[in-house]
Symmetry: C2
Subunit: 214 residues, 2 copies
């Protein structure tokens, strides 16, 4: 089976999961932590080299404060959880806004290696696609390729994007690394993650003809 | 029914259609012309305000010359065909490369109005996402929003992207106008376009919850 190098994860449906389970919306986010770890371990097992989790965006921070605090905390906990694994962790997002969790600043300054390193794991935290691209492409840098100039340049091209929760849209996820990505959507909500979701996505990806636009 | 303002069309599968029908690959492109006109008329009927057709890309021009000539000719014919309708036509692409069809240059300089104007119709011709974004976001333009600075700024945010031919990827289609787009994929090849495809896409779009990332 042809395995993607880099998988993008859009873990959507936490709030809908909470409502379906008789909880208030903000209770859904912490239910996404175990799925994230489980998915990480499956990627490790299958030899995937890089994962990017869509944490939260600048757009998301317009939601009610109780939700904002809950999803920010879930991101902090997710990063902390992976420091106990073999992983190289990078956080990408706007650190200069008050909605960026302070404890994640070291991970935003430099990729942090834990255990034996292993998979590159990126978290988009307080990320904005406009923030990512702004001020990047000035004409005096004409020699470089665009993707070397954006703020998320530490994140490579994404081969496969998997989105939970049924929406078929990118919602601002890394627009330049996603131009050629294959996009697989799972209807179940992210907290209902199951191993089969991951393998269904890999099996589907294996059948795609990768052309990089050619 | 909630109708999208702007539909992006990725008319893929022309070559696969040709092979399936015992023709050489390049014969598939001209079979995409009638579907393009039929779709335009459906959009007109349903009150859609803007359509963007993915013609061909800089990436595509690496294909064999016989194909390159055929898809470029199909784009020229498609634009000419729509000059007989009520439409405001704009071509967006790199006009300074030899693979850009010379007869389309006037449409790339300025939107051209035909008949009573009506729908904005955009064609991406010799388009490249890197070309589109390069040199756009310099820091001295900090006041403006990014999408006002790129070369495709005459094309607005895309609400719904419909792709024929089964691939679930954007293949470099307007990365910034597509950040929030809903993405509907039809397995049939573009030359096998049927009215139901269009209405299936609209019905699906009507059920989506549009949040623009919020």
């Amino acid at each position: 089976m042809r395995i993607p190098n880099h998988i993008g994860i859009i873990p959507d449906g936490n709030r809908r999961w909470a409502l379906k389970n008789g909880l208030t919306k903000e209770k859904g986010y912490e239910k996404g932590l175990n799925p994230g770890l489980e998915l990480f371990k499956l990627c490790e097992k299958e030899g995937i080299k890089e994962i990017t989790y869509y944490g939260f965006t600048v757009d998301n921070t317009k939601r009610p404060k109780v939700q904002r605090l809950a999803f920010a905390q879930a991101c902090v906990d997710a990063v902390k959880m992976l420091t106990k694994e073999n992983a190289s962790l990078l956080v990408v997002g706007n650190t200069s806004s008050p909605t960026f969790p302070k404890s994640l600043i070291p991970f935003a300054l430099k990729r942090q290696v834990f255990g034996s390193g292993g998979i590159k794991v990126n978290f988009l935290v307080n990320y904005g696609w406009q923030w990512d691209l702004r001020d990047s492409f000035s004409s005096d840098k004409e020699e470089s390729t665009i993707t070397d100039l954006i703020k998320s340049r530490g994140i490579s091209r994404v081969d496969l994007i998997v989105r939970w929760g049924g929406m078929r849209r990118l919602s601002g996820f890394l627009p330049l690394q996603s131009v050629y990505s294959d996009f697989y959507v799972i209807d179940d909500y992210w907290p209902d993650f199951r191993e089969e979701h991951f393998y269904d996505a890999l099996k589907w990806y294996d059948k795609q003809d990768i052309t990089l636009g050619g």
